[in-house]
């Protein structure tokens, strides 16, 4: 196995993936913290401010120059929502030492810069540089406001927000404009220090790393030495933790509850779950094509049900053979796009279609028919086979892209569920028709969101 995991200190883990398939090495640092309404905007702002400068490279221009001299190494950072965690992500990609026109110690240099960017920001008077914070506040404002630009993404985000109203997962990963004003360079820096002292930190390295002593390089790094061990504060999400509540509880209350790491929501028996009324939301914008997004609850919390869910989802809306693609697009010409995606960490499925606005009713009926078909077992063995092939191909592809492989292992780390790529493939192959039908009976529509003109 080419994957190895080592603890640097408590709460800080190094993951190494040894591979010779690429011209590049990829390095990543992930900082995970629970999603909270009061912190989302701060998290997003931090990832933006950090890229502005470090103590060693105080401006973006200097960072870029340095990276360009390293044969166009590229640095990237951003913010992601994974389950109920907010993840600050930092990536650095650089050529493998083997393909340099002349020898240089690029691994050490790359890790040095990445750790510097994550943990050694440029400060003035015990706070982030005011100019950087102000600039990034303006930029973040624009990013948040730009959520309307990509219509299908917007519709998807809005459906998620409606479906998880008042819960961490319903939060927008870039935060909220109204939070920005009160943030100061001091308050942000204070929050940042707290964050890096308590968050779960994972470092990934992928590429030609043989005999390069990556662990030692990291342990010797000054920024790493300055980080204390910690009992990491983050939330474990997997199919067994994501029971769906029967009624909508007080929003304030819910937020509090699911944010506490130690207090998991009790799993509920399936028979307790009654079909909720569908929540229908329609919104208007000046657009030519309507965007229909349907959020489905999966009321099944058995261990390993995620594998059945994957196959169910692939049959429903995974690819060109799926029921949605075939019936919504091919047979009825109602849409150009029609697919579905399973969000494992929240145990929900989203159906997404771009449709002619007048076809709303017809498209919705057709989609509901497909959901009924799934419950009644109206799908062929051929459908199961091709869906499994589709998933297996994507599993095979995990080790073919550096960032995909890193994301795979990090996903497991966060979900506290470790299966090798090979085991994952076996579990998919083992899924049976009856299991899919049983699973289908536990799928209910939660939210129907339609963006129209």
């Amino acid at each position: 196995m080419n994957y190895e995991k080592q603890e640097i200190k408590q709460g800080i883990t190094l993951h190494q993936i040894q591979t010779e398939n690429y011209k590049t090495n990829l390095y990543a640092i992930f900082i995970a913290t629970p999603l909270k309404r009061e912190n989302v905007t701060l998290d997003a702002l931090i990832s933006a401010v950090l890229r502005r400068g470090t103590k060693n490279l105080p401006s973006q221009e200097q960072i870029s120059k340095k990276l360009e001299m390293m044969y166009g190494a590229s640095f990237n950072c951003g913010i992601e929502k994974t389950g109920d965690n907010h993840i600050l992500k930092f990536y650095l990609e650089a050529l493998s030492e083997e393909f340099l026109p002349k020898p240089e110690e690029l691994i050490k240099e790359s890790l040095g810069i990445l750790l510097d960017l994550s943990f050694n920001p440029y400060t003035e008077n015990g706070a982030f540089k005011a100019e950087y914070v102000e600039g990034e506040k303006q930029n973040l404002k624009q990013i948040i406001e730009a959520k309307i630009d990509q219509k299908d993404r917007y519709a998807y985000d809005r459906c998620t927000e409606e479906m998880f109203k008042g819960k961490p997962y319903g939060l927008y990963k870039y935060g909220y404009v109204e939070d920005l004003e009160s943030i100061t360079p001091e308050s942000l820096y204070k929050y940042y220090q707290e964050l890096i002292a308590t968050a779960k930190i994972d470092i990934f390295c992928s590429g030609r790393l043989k005999d390069k002593n990556v662990k030692e390089i990291i342990e010797q790094n000054e920024n790493m030495k300055n980080l204390k061990e910690r009992k990491p504060n983050y939330i474990i999400n997997n199919e067994t933790t994501e029971a769906k509540e029967v009624t909508k509880a007080n929003e304030q209350d819910k937020t509090q509850k699911s944010m506490d790491t130690n207090e998991k929501i009790e799993g509920k028996e399936n028979n307790e779950i009654k079909a909720k009324n569908e929540n229908v939301v329609t919104e208007s914008m000046q657009i030519a094509q309507g965007k229909l997004v349907i959020g489905l609850d999966v009321n099944e919390t058995k261990e390993n049900s995620r594998f059945i869910a994957s196959v169910y989802n692939a049959i429903l809306g995974g690819g060109a053979n799926s029921k949605l693609f075939q019936n919504v697009r091919e047979k009825n010409s109602l849409a150009y796009t029609a697919n579905s995606g399973y969000i494992r960490v929240k145990n929900v499925i989203f159906i997404r279609c771009g449709i002619e606005i007048d076809n709303y009713e017809k498209a919705l009926d057709t989609i509901k028919e497909q959901l009924e078909d799934m419950k009644n077992g109206n799908f062929t063995d051929e459908d199961i086979k091709s869906s499994k092939e589709l998933i297996l191909a994507s599993i095979e592809a995990i080790t073919e892209e550096q960032d995909t492989e890193i994301t795979y292992y990090y996903g497991q780390e966060l979900a506290d569920r470790f299966v090798t790529v090979e085991e994952y493939a076996e579990k998919i192959k083992d899924v049976k028709r009856e299991q899919i039908i049983d699973f289908a009976k536990n799928v209910t529509i939660n939210t129907i969101y339609f963006l129209r003109d």
Binding site: S64, G72, L95, N321, Y336, T337, S386, E396, E400
Partner: protein, 424 residues
Amino acid sequence: MKVIESLKIKEKAYVEELENGLKIIIIPKKNTKKKYIIWGTHFGSIDNHFIMPKTGEEVYIPDGVAHFLEHKMFEQPNGTNSLDTLMALGIDANAYTTNDHTAYLFECTSHFDEGLKELLDYVQHPYFTDENVEKEKGIIGQEIRMYDDDPGWQLYMNALDCMYKENPIKIDIAGTVESISKINPDVLYKCYNTFYHPSNMVLVACGDFEPQELLEKIKSQLLPKENQGEIKRIYPPKEEKINKEYKSVKMEVSTPIFMMGYKDTQTEKTERVKKHIAVEIILNMIIGKSSKLYEKCYKEGLLLAQPDFDYESNEQYSHVLISANSKDSKKVEEGILQEIEKMQKDGLDAERFEQIRRKIYGDYVIEYNSVGDIARMFLADTMKGVQSFDYIEQFETVTKEYAENILKDLFKKENKVMSVVEPN
């Protein structure tokens, strides 16, 4: 097979031109599980007026035919759809149409031989009926709608409209709802028979292959075809001048987006790679991530990210595009203009030039990380008459002086256009 090699990045390409004119390029990649194959025809949205080599008939076709044809190729006489057949094998299959070519491809980790058989089979067997052509109009109509709502696409189309009056690159690849309504099986067959001839096609494969073995496999599955003379493509005469300086539309966006363009004169085929490298270096020096101008714009909140830039160049068109989101595109444009003027006057900074050259070298090497990127690059370059390794090999021939000449020659005020999408 002929072997071309890049020692710098330790890659080889095996090339063979068959008797029927089909060009096959195989790039072996040891130890990768993914295999990628792409079969392209030199037929894109700009080819809307031509003479059929066999009959001598002069044909005008409605806008969007190349793309329509691409959609319809998957359909088989027995009622199956090859896209479904491939997907059912876990093979990720797709097709796309550009200005100058149409391509059919798949990527897989297993079932490659079955996939190859299906690919070769469906691309060689068109099946168009009145009924299946009618049905497709609904689906493509929705695709066109999707692009109607895409500010980035509208921005690009408007930039082209500014640069060219008659050039067919202005035609929307998918056509319009009106233009595709005129498409019928007869038009599709005419285009298929003309452009889907082996002599007008290129096949590229990348993955863990034994080149000779794969070549034989492909050859054994090709249908015999009569040789065909050259296809005469008719394009409007080249226009020296731009069409208009400025175009702006309103759409539902949060901040304005702009695309600045410089129309270029045509370049000799042999010089295109070198010029391309030089243009990339220049653009990075003007407003790349490490440039003073970018830092200034970023600080002032005028830019949130480095602008995208592109140099598109072939026989029919050639231009530079710079695009970004900005609350004040006028100011960014002014900054870019000043920077260009300054660089034209003072020459390029030697240290920065070297730094950017290193960066571009890294960028080109990174393209060789994925079998898909490699195969698509070789196909697109071959369609343009370029050899992909040349980007790595000719790299060192691009000097500061050469780039300075390009800078003076290409970035002229009178060739500049600006397209803007403003919020409602």
